[in-house]
Structure formats: C-alpha cells, structure tokens
C-alpha cells in the first residue's frame, strides 16, 4: 500500500488553504452576485460616493501589502529569517492601515446617516449590501492581520517554518484578489457624477 503521497504533489497545509480559498471565493462571489442582482433590479440605486481618494489609497495599500508578503515568502524560501519576519510584519502593518482607512470611511458614511437598514439617498438595501460585502472583506483583513502576526512571531521563534508563511501568504493574496472585484462593483459603479 502506497501512502504519504499528497494529491498533485502539493503539501497538505497548502492544499487545505487552496480548498479554503476556493470555498471563500464562492462565498464572496455569492455576495457580489446578490449585490449585482439587487442593483440591477432596482432602478433608483444610490450613488453616494463623491470621492475615490480614500478607496484609491486603500487599494494601493493592499496591493503593496501583497508585494511585501511576496518578498517575505521569498526571503523565507532563501532562509533569510530576519528579512522574512520583517516583511511579514510590514504586511501586517499595511493590513492595519487598510483596516483603519476602511473604518474611517465607514464612520463617514454612518455620519451621513447610512446604516444597515437605512440610507439618506433612498433604497435601504444599499446600506445592507454595502456593509455586508465590505464588512465581510474587512473581517477577512482583520483575520489575516492576526494570522500574519501570529505566524510571523512563531516563525521568528523557530516554531513555524517557511511553508507556514507561504500558506498565510496565499490567504493574504486572496484577500487582495477579492478587493479587486469589490472596488469596481461596490465603489466605482456607485460614483456620483
């Protein structure tokens, strides 16, 4: 009996993260499809965004965090432990910056009267769908930051190795990938002209 050969020659934990990513992609796709369905079915959909500065900065921060994560995994692959740890922590800090910018934006919208079940521009479904989608993404970012710090610290103390950084990196890139769809669908198409 032959045992121990992983499917596709992919390590078990990496395969587990890929399966999680596939499932999570379906979750986000379902949310975005539901959002598209509602937006398409409601002729008077609000367009409350008048500036894209904040979301542009958020996008830049998240894309840059993907690059720093990549550099961290690359350093771990080259057995450069200090650099791998440093880049992982930089990624976590960028994630925190992204989350703070997101919360600032939320507070601005809440200040204008938008909640889960109400918004001053008309259709209340907009508030529910906006906070659900961006909230789900923000939850992923927050979880990713915690994972980056936890795995980074344990990697630095020798309890985890480079493959652990790699799998947390896969998750982080996925969070970035989802944002590439959230921005145009939720923000840019609702830009008031």
């Amino acid at each position: 009996m032959v045992v121990g050969l992983p499917p596709f020659s992919v390590a078990a934990k990496k395969m587990a993260v890929w399966l999680f990513i596939i499932a999570d992609a379906a979750t986000f796709a379902a949310c975005l499809l539901a959002y598209g369905f509602l937006r398409n079915g409601n002729a008077e959909w609000p367009r409350p965004f008048h500036s894209i500065t904040n979301v542009a900065i958020m996008t830049f921060v998240l894309l840059t965090s993907s690059l720093t994560m990549l550099l961290g995994v690359r350093a771990a692959s080259a057995n450069d432990k200090p650099a791998a740890f440093r880049f992982t922590m930089i990624t976590a800090v960028l994630g925190i910056v992204f989350a703070l910018l997101h919360v600032r934006e939320w507070m601005g919208l809440i200040g204008e009267g938008m909640t889960l079940f109400h918004n001053p521009w008309g259709n209340p479904i907009f508030g529910a769908s906006f906070f659900t989608i961006t909230g789900l993404h923000l939850t992923h970012v927050a979880g990713g930051v915690v994972a980056l710090i936890a795995v980074g610290m344990k990697y630095n103390h020798g309890r985890y190795d480079g493959s652990d950084l790699e799998v947390v990196g896969l998750y982080w890139h996925f969070v970035d990938l989802v944002w590439m769809f959230v921005v145009p669908l939720v923000y840019l198409l609702n830009l008031g002209h």
Partner: protein
C-alpha cells in the same frame, strides 16, 4: 503489514525561481490596471459598458495575482487545472439568477415596475 504514513512535521517552503524584477513588474501592472478602473469610473459611458470594462480588468488583475503572486503558474498543471476548473464551475453555477434580476427591472411578471417590491 501496512507501511507507516510518510508524516513530515516540517514541510520546507516551496522554492520559486521568479526574480524580484518579475514581481515588481507584476505589481506595477496591477497598480496600472487598478488606476485604469478608476479612470473608467470617471468616463462618460453607460453603466453596463462601464461594468463590462471594469469586470474585464478585474479578471485580468485576479489572473495575474493568482498565477504569479500565488504561484499557481509554478504548480503542477494538474493542480492548476483543478483550481481553475473547480472554481470556474462553482462560480458559473451561480449565474442562473440574472434573468430574474432583469425581470425585476422590467417589472414583468411578479414585480411592480421600477421598485423591486415583490407582489403578494
């Protein structure tokens, strides 16, 4: 007698041959594509056309991130096909509801015109 499973408590990190320059180029490409999406948002075109262009660019962005940042391109072809086909099929099955969405907008049948309120 059954052989003991090959348990390796510590799996080495995968080694990828991509150069730093390649990563930087892809990062810049992603920034440029994201910027293009923002520019499209300010263009004076119908929402449907805007949506199509932004979605097209988002798919290119996602492809670049998947293949090179997540190193899917460097994995075995079987694994790449597994991820793409499995995910693609899961996402494709979700598209069945769009006709209902257009029916809501047009108002026939079952809905009030332009309100999206379902009739009892």
């Amino acid at each position: 007698m059954v052989d003991a499973p090959d348990v390796r408590p510590s799996e080495p990190a995968a080694t990828y041959k991509d150069s730093m320059g390649k990563y930087i180029v892809i990062y810049v490409c992603l920034l440029v594509i994201a910027a293009a999406q923002f520019l499209i948002a300010y263009s004076n075109i119908p929402t449907a056309a805007m949506f199509a262009r932004m979605l097209f660019l988002a798919i290119i962005e996602a492809g670049l991130a998947l293949m090179f940042f997540m190193h899917l391109w460097a994995e075995k072809r079987g694994f790449l096909l597994f991820v793409l086909i499995f995910t693609g099929f899961a996402l494709a099955t979700m598209q069945y509801g769009w006709t209902d969405s257009f029916r809501m907008e047009l108002g026939v049948p079952y809905t009030e015109p332009k309100t999206g309120v379902i009739q009892q």
